[in-house]
Every structure is written in C-alpha cells, then in structure tokens.
C-alpha cells in the first residue's frame, strides 16, 4: 500500500512539473506578438509531429527550450553529380540552420520533404546522386550495434573464460534467450540442419529485439524508430530471402513449380498453382518486412499520439491539458508495457518465420503421393 501511495505522489509531481512547463508555454504564447502566436499555433500539428518523430532526420532533436531547438547535429555525407559542386561533400547538419550549404538544402515540402536536395539544371529540386548521411536512424543503428556487440562479445568471453560453469550476470540473462532461439525457434522449424542458420537467426533476433527496446527509451541516443523504418526491415527481410534461396534444395523448387498433391490440370496448361507458389515465395519476405515495420511504427505513433493529446487539449484550455496529461501518461505507461511485449513478440515472429522459410528450403523429400 505504501508503495502505491509513493508511486501516486511521484506521478502527481510529474504531472505538476509538466503542467508548469505547459503554463510557461501558455504565458509565452499569450505575451508574444501575433506573428509568433500564429507560427507556434501552426507549429503544433499532431500529424507532422508524429511523422517527424517516426521518420528520419539529419539532426537529432532532443528538446525545445523557449522556442529554441536543442538538437545534436549529425554528419551529412553526399556525393553530387551537379556540375557546380560535383564530388563528395561531408559536413555537419547544423550548417543547414543558415539555409543552403554548398548548394544543398533540406526540402520543406514536396516528395523529398525533410531530405537533402540540390537544384537541378531545370530549376527543380532533386536528390543528390548519393546520400549516405549519418542520419538519426543511422546513429541509433550504430548505438544499438555497439550495444549488441559489447553485450555478446562480453558474454562470449565469459563462456570462454568459465566453460562448464553455471551462467552468471549478463550471461545468465542472455543464455535463456539464446537457448530459446535454438530450442524453440530453430530446432523445431528447421530440423537437424538448424546449426547452419543459428548465427543468422540469433543475430536477427537480438538485432530486432535490442532495436525495438532502444526505440522505447525516450532519451538520446535512444528512442529512434529504427525497426519501424522500412529500409531496416527491407534489409532484414531481403537477407532472409537471400539465405532461403541460397540454401534451397531441389525439393524446394519442385514444391514451387511442380507442387506435389495437386491435380495436373492446375499446373498444365495454365500454371495456376506454380504461379501462386512463386508469388507466395516473393510475398513471404515482403510480409516479413511490412509486419515488423508496421508493428513498431504503430507503437511509436500511439505513444506520440497520446502525448499530442496533451497539447491539443492544452491549447483549448489549461485545465483540460492538465487533466489530459494524467490520462496520457497513464495510457503511455500502459502502451509502453504493451510495446515491451510487442518488441519481444516481433523479434520472435521475425526469427520464427525466417526459420520456417529456411526449414522449407532445406526440407528433404518425404511426400508419399
């Protein structure tokens, strides 16, 4: 009971602090000149707010204090074929605060909104030939890569230093997960050839899990929407697809082009079933890609959506904003707990489905028909 009261007090305190912040915002809001009011009320658009959060950026926005943005500038790496500034350009993204830099600028609207563009000969703005800037998501990716490497290299070191000993510490935390991937995903889905796929399955499992989890921590350098980005899930799904094809045996292709157990007239002269099977083979990785992307992005959208509610209601009335903050924080806590579950489930599902695809690729012929 005492615990609960303490939590409640902490919660109220937090709500009060957030309220004070909102009040300051309101005061500025009212005392400022009309132009500023117009700009700021225009500034809060939940749609843009949410999309900005779940999307990528050339700088990492941390917070806004008195209308001044505090953000970490990130390196921009672009290669341009533009005659005026052809070649490789590397500079920090805060150069864009003054608008254009070396002919590059960040588009504010259009198809390339938020991306680096340059002016083409015909006057339109186009993307430079190569843009491999270290964006917010790339940095978040590097951070989680460092976490993954340090965790598992240290765990591996412990295994080497203390073989045949009961696991302890970080090793004790990771071992059940490693065994889970091995005994509950790889072995049942693939069969006796599972050992070949273990490094990849373990890597995607922990890569997705850790990126999902770091995405839930709302402080720099975490909280980016890495596994909710289509490029990330595309690479993961593509690798699963390539490994499936690379390990596929004769039987796998027979299953696709001459599916056993199907009447012949479904295959000749119109290859209906082979067509469906072939499309299915391509759809599988596509679905993998979309599922992870959609699940994680949805989680982020909901969390940000709840916070947006505070500002939407706060703009109408201070009391409503105050009331809404309690509801929003409660719901966000609930959603975060749910997202913890989703983080694990999505890592599990992606790994399990990859394992199933590998399993179907290496399966030996055993049909009696």
């Amino acid at each position: 009971m005492a615990h609960r009261i303490k939590y409640l007090l902490a919660f109220l305190l937090l709500a009060l602090i957030s309220r004070v912040g909102a009040q300051e915002y309101d005061e500025r809001h009212h005392e400022g000149d009309t132009a500023e009011v117009a700009r700021e009320s225009e500034a809060f658009d939940p749609g843009t707010f949410i999309l900005e959060h779940i999307g990528d950026a050339y700088e990492w926005h941390i917070l806004t204090v008195n209308g001044h943005h505090v953000s970490v500038p990130l390196p921009v790496i672009v290669y341009s074929t533009h005659p005026e500034h052809e070649g490789l350009h590397v500079f920090m993204s805060n150069k864009f605060h003054h608008g254009e830099h070396h002919g590059f600028r960040i588009a504010h609207d259009g198809n390339n909104k938020g991306k680096i563009v340059e002016q083409a000969a015909d006057g339109s703005f186009v993307r430079p030939a190569v843009d491999i800037s270290i964006t917010k998501n790339v940095l978040a990716l590097f951070v989680s890569v460092i976490i993954i490497l340090s965790v598992f290299l240290s765990v591996a070191k412990r295994y080497k230093a203390h073989p045949d000993k009961a696991p302890a510490g970080l090793q004790g935390l990771m071992e059940p997960l490693i065994l889970f991937v091995r005994d509950d995903i790889a072995r049942p889905a693939i069969g006796h050839k599972y050992m070949r796929f273990m490094p990849y399955l373990l890597t995607i499992f922990f890569f997705i899990l850790i990126n999902n989890l770091t995405g839930l921590i709302p402080v720099f350098p975490f909280g980016a929407n890495v596994t909710g980005n289509i490029a990330i899930t595309l690479v993961l799904a593509l690798l699963t697809f390539i490994i499936t094809l690379g390990n596929s045996n004769r039987n796998y292709w027979i299953h696709i082009f001459n599916t056993p157990g199907v009447p012949w007239w479904l295959k000749i002269p119109l290859p209906l079933i082979p067509f469906i099977e072939f499309v299915g083979m391509l759809i599988k990785p596509f679905v993998l890609m979309v599922r992870l992307f959609a699940n994680i992005t949805a989680g982020h959208i909901i969390a940000i959506g709840f916070f947006s509610l505070i500002f939407i209601f706060g703009a109408k009335s201070a009391v409503m904003g105050y009331g809404m903050s309690i509801v929003s924080v409660t719901f966000t806590i609930f959603m975060t707990v749910l997202e913890l579950l989703v983080a694990f489930i999505q890592a599990y599902v992606f790994t399990l489905l990859s394992a199933l695809y590998f399993g179907s690729a290496v399966e030996e012929h055993h049909h009696k028909e």
Partner: protein, 164 residues
C-alpha cells in the same frame, strides 16, 4: 509515402552495419557460445548418466548387502539350530547311554544276586541235609539206645508193612 519508401542512405548503412554485426558475432560470439552450450549440455548429460549409474550401483550394492545380511541371518539361524539339535542329540545320547549302563549294571547285579542266591540255596540245602542226617543220627541213636525200643520200632514198621 515517404514513410514506406526506403531511404538509400539508411539502406546502405543498415546493410553495412548488419553484415558487420553478423560477421563479428558469428565468429566471436555465436560459435563459441553455441559450442560451449553444447559442451556443457553434454557434460551435464554425462554427469546425469553417471549419477544414474552410481545410483543403480548403490541400489545393487544395497540389495547385495541385504542379501548378504539375510544369508548371514539364515546361516546364524542354521548354526544355532544345528547347535540346538546337537545339544539335544548329545543329551539324548547321554541319557540313552546312562540308561543302558544302568540296565547293564542292573542286569549284572541281578545275575550276581541270582548266582549268589543259588549258591546260598545250594549251601543251605547241603547244610540242611547234613543237619538232617546228623539229627536223624542223633534221633536214631536215642531211639535205639535199648532193645525194647528197637523192637517196638521193628514192630511198628512191620505193622505198617502189613497194613499195606
């Protein structure tokens, strides 16, 4: 639409970092970890098997011990019973022996007594015959001290003869 169109830069970095992670972890983490796990599982399995065997051995030994104990108990009982039997037999034998001896002695005594009695009877008979002869002699002498008496006797005897 930007949300679902993959960014080439991010794609590039993702591919590079993921493949690096995959390569590094495969070589330096997953292989040693999986090998160690496999080794540990094997050693645990062996230890369990050894424990099972030891337990079986222990049960067998326990059963053996029990068997030995039972056998020893039986042996003891047997020896005890044998001793008992032997004792009884010895006692019975001794009793028999003494009875026989007794009988023999009794028999001997009886025979001796019989012999002695016979001797005594014989002696008494001889003595009594002798005594009778002597008494008869004395009587005769007294009876036939005078002629008168001798005459009477003869008469008597002749009378007796006549009567017959």
């Amino acid at each position: 639409m930007q949300l679902v169109s993959p960014d080439i830069g991010l794609l590039f970095w993702m591919l590079v970092s993921f493949l690096t992670v995959l390569f590094l972890l495969r070589k330096f983490a997953w292989k040693p970890i999986l090998n160690m796990l496999h080794r540990r599982e094997e050693s645990i399995e062996q230890a369990l098997k050894a424990a099972d065997r030891a337990r079986e051995d222990m049960y067998k030994m326990k059963a053996d011990n029990e068997k030995i104990l039972v056998e020893a108990r039986q042996e003891r009982d047997r020896i005890f019973r044998e001793a008992q039997d032997l004792k009884e037999k010895i006692l019975a034998d001794a009793r028999e022996q003494s009875k026989k001896e007794q009988m023999r002695i009794m028999e001997e005594t009886k025979t001796l007594i019989q012999t002695e009695k016979n001797n005594a009877v014989k002696e008494i008979r001889a003595l009594s015959a002798d005594l009778s002869v002597r008494i008869a002699e004395k009587l005769l002498r007294r009876e036939l001290r005078n002629d008168q008496q001798q005459k009477t006797l003869v008469e008597e005897m002749s009378n007796e003869l006549n009567l017959n």
